[in-house]
């Protein structure tokens, strides 16, 4: 038993961690288990999706081998503990790229599938699961099942975004996208007011592959922010060198607090306002700005933090987003990392996938006593607007909200592997 935390650092309960190192021995490990468990990659989900206190975690870190790559079709087969960054660094120089990478590259292929993650280019390519052609799933009874969009499609749809609950995914075949190289033409624009944000999003959807906005959630009624957009370019930027820093220790109190929040957000806004305009940048700092500071989650101190990520349909989006930002401001809570992005119209590949057409808002909150009340207010807004919350970021959504906003739960339940169970599955599904 050893203590395991997820990215939000809200708990560090003991887990029985079993390291999987050989994909042919996973079935033997699973059938040998006497209690239910859940697969665990790099532990980057914020809440309890990959936690199972006092129970088994099957760590996939050692399943990190590539199996085959067809340079004509761009199909990559690999084990599911492979880290997205390793695929990107290997394949981009060869002219291929993962279609979808979330805001950090430091997640595993298995985690990206189990949470059907999305990136800044969702409006162009959809989510991670849209580019998975084949999966190899090991069930707790030892059975190995291959599935894909055209092979056992119901099980496949349950596994995409299925939070690891249909079995341990050991292998995946991914369709990569051709790329011109590592450089992006990027532009930062300022906006004031949500109408302005939506206008910029609509205008950018056709010509820009990546769009995302940072908002200053402390800025009052007419919310201000920075709209960032990027697209691949054959041009070459000035040299980029990876700088890896690490937050070396956990401060005794959260550095994100009532005193620091407003000055930081104002500073961030004014510094970046002067950097608006077009430039050529390397994809890594543009798409994964926080990957250059390892362990940045320690910033929130020993009590950890929550992320609240919602999506609401576009029709209700403007009003619901405004109501949520109002509620947050009135509560006195708030965050450095407040991100707003519009999703595309594509139907999700997974039964329990989070993305739906509309606008998604993500905010971090340091753990405090005021949060439950604020969250329940936000829940009401999201639910009334026909939206939902992102399980990968969640540690607290009420089961009733989950059941009301994920209508495919009953269909999903038929594909559950009874040997798979997480703190999240028990919280949201009862088992």
């Amino acid at each position: 038993m050893r203590p395991v935390s997820s990215w939000g650092r809200l708990s560090a309960d003991p887990h029985h961690v079993i390291e999987l190192t050989d994909r042919d021995r996973v079935a033997a490990e699973l059938t040998g288990a006497t209690t239910a468990g859940i697969a665990h990659g790099l532990g980057k989900s914020y809440g309890d999706a990959s936690l199972n206190p006092q129970g088994i975690l099957w760590s996939t870190r050692g399943l990190d081998r590539l199996i085959a790559f067809d340079s004509a079709s761009g199909r990559l087969t690999c084990e599911t503990g492979v880290v997205l960054r390793d695929i990107q660094r290997l394949m981009i120089p060869r002219g291929w790229s993962l279609a979808v990478v979330p805001g950090t590259q430091l997640v595993t292929v298995g985690g990206a599938i189990a949470n059907d993650v999305h990136g800044k280019n969702h409006h162009v390519v959809g989510a991670f699961g849209d580019h998975v052609r084949r999966l190899r799933l090991v069930r707790s009874d030892g059975e190995t099942i291959e599935c894909g969009p055209d092979l056992k499609p119901e099980l496949f749809a349950a596994t995409i975004g299925g939070l690891g609950l249909t079995g341990v995914i050991v292998e995946a075949e991914l369709q990569l996208r051709p790329t011109s190289g590592p450089w992006l033409e990027a532009e930062t624009l300022t906006f004031e007011g949500l109408e302005d944000f939506f206008a910029l999003s609509d205008e950018s959807e056709a010509g820009w592959e990546h769009t995302v906005a940072w908002i200053d959630c402390t800025s009052g009624k007419a919310v201000r922010g920075l709209f960032m957009r990027g697209r691949p370019t054959p041009a070459t930027g000035s040299g980029w060198r990876e700088r890896r820093r690490r937050l070396p220790l956990t401060p005794p109190v959260s550095l994100v607090n009532g005193l620091s929040l407003k000055p930081f957000n104002s500073l961030y806004y004014s510094v970046n306002r002067r950097r608006t305009g077009l430039r050529v940048v390397h994809y890594e700092p543009f798409l994964y700005p926080l990957d250059s500071i390892l362990d940045w989650n320690r910033l929130y101190g020993p009590s950890g933090f929550f992320q609240y990520q919602s999506v609401v349909p576009r029709a209700a989006g403007l009003e619901a987003t405004r109501d949520m930002l109002d509620a947050i401001q009135r509560s006195g809570q708030g965050s450095f990392l407040a991100v707003l992005k519009t999703f595309g119209h594509r139907a999700a590949a997974g039964l329990l996938s989070f993305p739906q057409p509309g606008v998604t808002l993500a905010l971090d909150f340091r753990n405090s006593r005021a949060l439950p009340e604020l969250f329940s207010r936000l829940d009401d807004i999201v639910r009334a607007a026909g939206g939902r919350l992102y399980p990968a970021k969640d540690a607290r959504m009420p089961r009733a909200l989950y059941e009301a906003t994920y209508p495919n739960l009953a269909a999903f339940a038929r594909h559950r592997d009874p040997g798979m169970s997480s703190a999240m599955s028990r919280r949201l599904m009862g088992t």
Binding site: V17, E19, R23
Partner: protein, 245 residues
Amino acid sequence: MKIVVIGATSGIAEHCCRLWLAAEPAELVLVARDKAKLDKIAADLKVRSPDSTITTVLGDFLDRTFIQSVVDGTVATGPVDIALIAHGWMPDNQVGLDLATCEQILDVNAVSPVLFAEAFAAHFVTAGRGTIAIIGSVAGDVTRRANYLYGASKALLTRYAQGLDHRLIGSGVKVVLIKPGPTDTPMTARLKARGQRMAPVEDVARATVEGIRRGKAVVYTPPVWRLIMLIVRHIPRPIFNRLPL
């Protein structure tokens, strides 16, 4: 560059291969016992570096005829730049083992690596070039009850590497002894499950590849182990034997 890896399914060796191939295509000869594991690693490296030549050899590491023939065979197809001898075996509990298991620990961790190194040394001296890299351990500096047979084997490698280095002065052949601290690999999974801190295998592999490139005689990785072992070696016995090690 032509690199021969003995014990290619070891975690450190596998990650060294990834680093070598990430820098430039190479000619790799991977030698191991377990076919299924070795085939997966070879396929992975081939995807990472399609322009590299990767061959696999299977055999019994305790069979000196095999050792001689695999070394002769790899040298026969062209001069070898690096021989990395990486195999090792650490049983969980080394107190009160039967003699057969004791012998096996010494054979796998000490005798077999020395025979491989001797076989390579003969060829490398003739060629006047090449690097023999051996994965030792900090456990070879000071060993303790939990793994003293393993530690004693690694201590033999420490002295052997030092003597081989002395023998090869002026020959153009380099000897590099790597001394990793506890490293996060399949070999140490049981220790990790008990909560022991481990260095990431990627970091240990990086230090190994860099130490080989620079031809350093002894590489401690992570480097702090050089200081730790210097101190521990000088703890008087009455105190050492009271430490909860």
